[in-house]
Amino acid sequence: MDRIPILRMGEFLLVTIQVDMHDQLAVSLQDDLTAKIVKTGAKGVLIDISALEMVDSFIGRMIANISSMSSVLDAHTVVVGMQPAVAITLVELGLSLRGVTTALSVDRGMHLLRRAMGGEEAADVRGQE
């Protein structure tokens, strides 16, 4: 049974979804990620979904949930590289991922995380919208 790897980069956790998500994979990712955040005390999580071409309502909800859960565990969460088709699907499903920061690429996502860690500049403007 394959799992999505969660990589640790300093104080951040990096999740890159490179395969087509199926329901079981999403559920195990949810378990793994929450466990890993608690274990490592990570302050930032970057979820790269640029390879995700298609989402159904379940996967869409799982992405929203996983991001919210990391936020609840006091880790800044950035979802990066969402494809247009996926964005449109999520909007049509009514999932607007409120409270989750988004970025166009991994590079920019890391930049946002570092800035959020920086302190006084606090969360990105977008995070509050």
Partner: protein
């Protein structure tokens, strides 16, 4: 019936050349050839072809114009109608093409059946019915051709009215013109999101100066687009909000959920530049002059 029918075919064959000549004369008299939209030779060729096709078709079942014998003439008429649409003829002018054939044909029927009033009446009725059907067919084809033109224009308009322009590196703008319906929003959203991915732009400005009215549906479409852009990790600014539109949005109770809105595209560009860290300064020399 079948015997009577075949006589139309015979008459058409017998007087073919005379009929063509007279018909073209008739058409010219009614004005079809006068304007230079269609040449006499073309009119002549069309008349000749129609008569020969009608003659072939009339040899078969005269009552059922949906039959296989009539396919050739139906196709021919729809082609003629299509070319008439392109040449800018009105629907009545196109129908007159067929109806003006009655006069020369009835004249021939009279010379053939002049001595027999019953036969003449029968023949005339059948011929009228036939030609009326042909005429209606022409009008229908004419209308269909016109609708095709309208549909094509609508599609072109849809594509033309959603250009995504690059204002600055990392700043895209989409000037929206016309009413926003679901189909258009879909196209706008797709092309804008695609451009964001391609150019890696962090800010998108949607300018609604050209949108005449904003109702709850339009506002909802706008919000969907804004949310999708945010999900992709870019920022969205709505600009060109006219005073009436601002009033309408508030009266409708539409919650713009913290979306940045600006009155003009210039304001939107200024804030977008500021967010990406650009500073605009004016040259000291230019300031003095």
């Amino acid at each position: 019936m079948a015997i009577v029918q075949s006589q139309i075919a015979d008459i058409l064959k017998k007087y073919e050349d005379d009929l063509v000549a007279e018909w073209v004369r008739e058409l010219k008299a009614s004005g079809s050839g006068k304007e230079s939209r269609i040449s006499e030779t073309e009119l002549f060729a069309q008349a000749k072809e129609f008569i020969s096709l009608l003659q072939k078709a009339a040899q078969g079942d005269g009552q059922n114009t949906n039959g296989p014998e009539w396919r050739a003439i139906t196709n021919f008429l729809s082609e003629v109608s299509k070319s008439r649409v392109m040449q800018g003829f009105a629907s009545d002018e196109t129908a007159t093409f067929i109806f003006s054939f009655k006069k020369p044909l009835f004249a021939r029927l009279r010379t053939e059946f002049g001595h027999d009033a019953d036969a003449l009446a029968d023949e005339t009725w059948l011929t009228t019915e036939l030609l009326d059907k042909m005429g209606l067919l022409t009008v229908r084809a004419f209308q269909r051709a016109r609708e095709e033109v309208i549909n094509r224009q609508q599609e072109e308009l849809l594509e033309l009215s959603t250009p995504v322009v690059k204002l600055w590196s990392g700043i895209l703008a989409l000037p929206m013109i016309g009413t926003l319906d679901s189909a258009r929003t879909q196209i706008v959203m797709e092309s804008l999101l695609q451009s964001i991915v391609e150019t890696g732009s962090e800010t998108a400005i949607i300018d609604i100066t050209g949108v005449p009215t904003v109702d709850t549906l339009v506002a909802q479409h706008l919000l969907k687009t804004v949310t999708a852009i945010r999900l992709m990790g870019a920022d969205c600014i709505i600009s060109g909000v006219r005073p009436q539109i601002a009033q309408t949005i508030v009266h409708l109770g539409v919650d713009l959920q913290g979306v940045t809105t600006k009155a003009t595209l210039a304001d939107a560009l200024a804030i977008a530049l500021k967010r990406s860290g650009f500073v605009i300064t004016r040259d000291a020399v230019a300031k003095r002059s």
